[in-house]
């Protein structure tokens, strides 16, 4: 009984990391990797919604927020994809199968996958931004009949930066999904688009009046993408972005991720562009 109560307390305490064991580590590109985690407790599953994030704790190093990049219909397996750019992510990139990571979450709201039902869906990803959008695409494809056209526009710096290559190939082969990939620069071996991802929007096949767009990438990329979508006639209410700030507690206590009148961790990270438009162009928020 005491054990059960302790377990329950652990689940209910959002500040206490749970130990998860690394099942698989995969390299996506020269600096980006994916880890698959399973809870140490074999009876624990991990339900989450597309767009949500976890706080991942590299023991003895630090804790960072990372979006979930796995399939929501497989809650037994927690998948995170991240770039090794700082102390914590570098430490994580060195972990091996069988090592443990502390996990708090899931936190935050979700991509409007259900609200998009009956609409065309346009997913625009920049760089590592494909990872947080992938769960939304999984869910859309799982219920493909609910949507009109589904379009994925993906931009990276170079062909070497493209994530989830084999999966992208499978998606490209589908007749019910349009996938366009572009890179900023390439050599002559690259036979696809070169240019920023925003330039794919004017010709992408969707009906702007009946479209829900979800954008994920660096803020500057999301801003210019939203502008192009507006030019096509997509309303700000139907453009969703995933915001990122310095999240620490993930439950709206610490205030580190305050963004204008909202907390990214608690009120987001997904917002309509209408909600954040006036804030994303300010230098300090």
């Amino acid at each position: 009984m005491v054990e059960l109560l302790e377990q329950r307390e652990q689940i209910l305490d959002p500040m206490r990391p749970e130990p998860f064991v690394i099942q698989r580590v995969g390299r996506e590109s020269y600096d980006t990797f994916t880890v698959e985690l399973a809870p140490r407790d074999p009876y624990r599953t991990f339900d989450f919604a597309p767009g949500q994030f976890n706080m991942l704790y590299a023991f003895g190093v630090g804790e960072i927020p990372i979006s979930i990049s796995g399939d929501p219909s497989h809650p037994e397996r927690l998948v995170h994809t991240t770039r090794a750019v700082g102390t914590v992510t570098n430490a994580m990139s060195n972990l091996k199968v069988g090592d443990e990571i502390g996990v708090r979450g899931p936190f935050g709201n979700e991509w409007p996958v259900n609200q998009a039902s009956g609409h065309d869906v346009v997913l625009v990803a920049g760089g590592i931004g494909l990872a947080p959008l992938r769960p939304a695409l999984y869910q859309v494809l799982r219920h493909r009949e609910r949507y009109g056209k589904v379009v994925l526009l993906y931009g990276t710096r170079s062909p070497e930066d493209i994530l989830f290559r084999s999966e992208l190939e499978r998606w490209r082969a589908r007749f019910d999904l349009e996938v366009y990939i572009t890179v900023d620069y390439a050599d002559s071996k690259w036979h696809s688009n070169v240019g920023v991802v925003t330039k794919l929007i004017p010709k992408a096949p969707f009906d702007p009046l009946h479209t829900v767009a979800m954008i994920c990438g660096p803020e500057v990329m999301m801003r210019f993408t939203a502008i192009e979508l507006q030019k096509r006639g997509v309303s700000n209410d139907n453009i969703y972005v995933s915001m990122e700030r310095n999240m620490k507690c993930a439950v709206g206590f610490c205030g580190h991720c305050q963004f204008g009148p909202v907390f990214i961790c608690k009120d987001g990270p997904i917002f309509t562009y209408q909600q954040v438009q006036s804030w994303v162009t300010r230098w300090v928020v």
């Binding site: 760089g127 710096r157 930066d161 572009t182 696809s192 070169v194 925003t198 010709k203 500057v220």
Partner: protein, 150 residues
């Protein structure tokens, strides 16, 4: 087979252009096709034509001695290829290499420049359209420089 004038009228670049101007421009045009890999033009060559892409994909390339051919941008159906014909000394700044089969309308630069000199309204219309293309490509380049996926 459709007349050049009809094909131009269907192209985004010439959308809503007055019919008499379409006719004038069509008089400088011809249908062309290029196979994948067959260069349309090379850097430094005289810019005697520009191209209205009807089908296919073209890579604009520059040579870098360390990296070889670097693709700067790709152009597609609905785009126009080349504005060096407008600005002295009328020489191409980059290489243009089709990535696929390309069908286009080639417009003779000398013919068009002469017509624009004779009819400034036509010249102004064309310049307005090219200014939009140039601004669009400048924006795209700025975003590439910004490294928006950083």
């Amino acid at each position: 087979m459709k007349a050049i004038e009809t094909l131009l009228a269907e192209h985004d670049f010439f959308k809503d252009l007055e019919p008499q101007y379409l006719e004038l421009i069509a008089g400088c045009g011809k249908n062309v096709r290029f196979d994948a890999g067959q260069y349309i033009f090379h850097e430094g060559e005289s810019a005697n034509e520009f191209y209205v892409i009807r089908y296919g994909q073209v890579a604009l390339e520059a040579h870098d001695h360390r990296r070889g051919q670097v693709t700067l941008q790709t152009l597609h159906e609905g785009d126009v290829l080349g504005w060096s014909w407008l600005i002295p000394p009328y020489r191409w700044h980059y290489n243009a290499r089709p990535l696929t089969l390309v069908r286009a309308i080639a417009l003779d630069a000398t013919c068009l420049r002469t017509k624009c000199d004779e009819d400034h309204h036509l010249g102004y219309e064309l310049l307005k359209r090219f200014a939009t293309v140039i601004v669009d490509r400048l924006d795209a380049t700025r975003l590439q420089v910004l490294d928006v996926y950083g």
